[in-house]
Symmetry: C2
Subunit: 354 residues, 2 copies
Amino acid sequence: KKQYRIAVIPGDGIGKEVVPEGVRVLEQVAQKFQFEIKFDWFDFASCDYYEKHGNMMPEDWKDKIGKHDAIFFGAVGWPAKVPDHISLWQSLILFRRDFDQYANVRPVRLMPGVPSPLANRKPGDIDFWVVRENTEGEYSSIGGRMFKDTDREVVVQETVMSRQGVDRILKYAFELAMKTPKKHLTSATKSNGISITMPYWDERVEAMAKNYPEIKWDKYHIDILTALFVMHPDRFNVVVASNLFGDILSDLGPACTGTIGIAPAGNINPERLYPSVFEPVHGSAPDIAGQNIANPIGQIWSGAMMLEHLGEPDAAAAIVTAIENTLKEPKLRTRDLGGKANTEEAGKAITAAI
Amino acid sequence: KKQYRIAVIPGDGIGKEVVPEGVRVLEQVAQKFQFEIKFDWFDFASCDYYEKHGNMMPEDWKDKIGKHDAIFFGAVGWPAKVPDHISLWQSLILFRRDFDQYANVRPVRLMPGVPSPLANRKPGDIDFWVVRENTEGEYSSIGGRMFKDTDREVVVQETVMSRQGVDRILKYAFELAMKTPKKHLTSATKSNGISITMPYWDERVEAMAKNYPEIKWDKYHIDILTALFVMHPDRFNVVVASNLFGDILSDLGPACTGTIGIAPAGNINPERLYPSVFEPVHGSAPDIAGQNIANPIGQIWSGAMMLEHLGEPDAAAAIVTAIENTLKEPKLRTRDLGGKANTEEAGKAITAAI
Ligand SMILES: CC(C)[C@H](C(=O)O)[C@@H](O)C(=O)O
Ligand SMILES: CC(C)[C@H](C(=O)O)[C@@H](O)C(=O)O
């Protein structure tokens, strides 16, 4: 029997409510597909932990979770307790950098029973991936201020792209496209405005595409690409983008399908030198925390992405199918989708549908 | 009688077809509202001009158009003839910089008869402005490459924000918000990821807001802001953003209202030290150029923005009303909106509706 060791980090707010539902479903699917998961729970990477210890993470956090097969993450952040630039940069962003999770992957998919803000789209019409570079680019933190607090003040920040950083995310995206029936890839650029880094990105896309002659690919400037997400979301299959552009597209995509509250994300180290983090796109949602009303689907769907990464695609597909079948039943939906089920009821319904 | 001198630059492709319709409407409205417009036509800032002269612009272009009250621009770009980074940077982007058109302003507005990709929205529901910083920020062109063509290659580009550059666009946006009934402003940021320039932007917004106690304002990170454009476009009134974020939002906004083919833009020097440029959002559209089928509304609406800038708000409003009334008649619509009218017929219909 295959065995996996998963670090579980509920984090803050509704993270603590939806993570147990995610674990419940994972246990069920493990039983059905005959593998074992051992869950180790951790209380750090949360604002509660910060309040107690003055840090988001213990010093030996890498010893604690660095050897697990993956990290199953809830949500982090509670601005009233800890400012976001501390809580997020010292947890999620830290993982991305220190565990070299250079691929941030999110599905954009119309789901049954989920109202989309777009007119006239049906499940099946929209189904693609956004692949985001997750470690460099526009998020470099290099730069500074001069002539501070004067009228001449000037503030500078670098975007840094490395050959290795760009090539590996492009390779990841092309490989993903190879696994899809459509074999199509779209690259996000802005080489007509961001005149140094973005033409470089385009060059590397062109070079990488030579290794994948079966892949049809195109590129769009980010301004018109966001417009196309709204006007023609059916055109996309795999969309690859820099850190900032990917950040934008991987929120806009789920917004277009109405799934921003239930979509999952993977922060992936494809070489498996370090654990990858799987988490819902939604945050800790302080406004509805503690009420047992949060929708657990984002967390559960993240579990499916985790299993896919671990090499259990059938179990992963079973979870997604269970989510879709459960969503078709109005009474099994949570309040955000117009239903009456609470967090636990919704989680149990999906578990039962496995 | 007031007199205005307008430089008319049709540019490339459908620019040459829609500009005459824009001028036709301006002539009509001038007569009705009792002012005079003198139009001077120029053939530069076009790829045809480039093919003849090896340059997008004559050397003395500032003498030729620098003293006009405004520039009425069609569209520029014809990639098969001249690469975009030449045709655009040596015309439109050049105007923005050399004529210090630091405010790029675009309306986002649901119009009657224009199908929107969003579900369940009616004219009146969505009506706001995107104000984009148009001269600095992410479009700095400072940077370069090192270890070229090796595995260590690294490419760097600066974002540069200046106190004066940020403050003047914020002031423009707050002043615009003061003129609106809702007195509301939204700032686009990404201070949780772009950790140097964007917190500075936020600081300046906060400082500027102190001068406008009547304005209610909020800020969103660009990722969730693009999502909100799709999910809750009714929430916005004036949205102010950096050069790159404004570029994205001012395409996404019109895409959400279905008006990307007909929306106008102003590249404005608010101090009127230099002429401002008014142009449709759409480009030169080589695929439909020369067929007399392009929709002239973007050009005509740009004329309305120009009149507003010149201090003729009643004439500007009359144009927008004429556009709306004409759009209500299916048979007066061009093909892109499901009608049968050609460019000229559509232009004449709006002229008649003035
Ligand atoms: C052509 C391009 C450089 C330009 C920009 O990004 O500013 C365009 O997208 C625009 O919005 O006018
Ligand atoms: C919290 C923030 C820094 C983060 C990002 O921009 O990467 C978030 O938006 C995300 O997408 O995970």
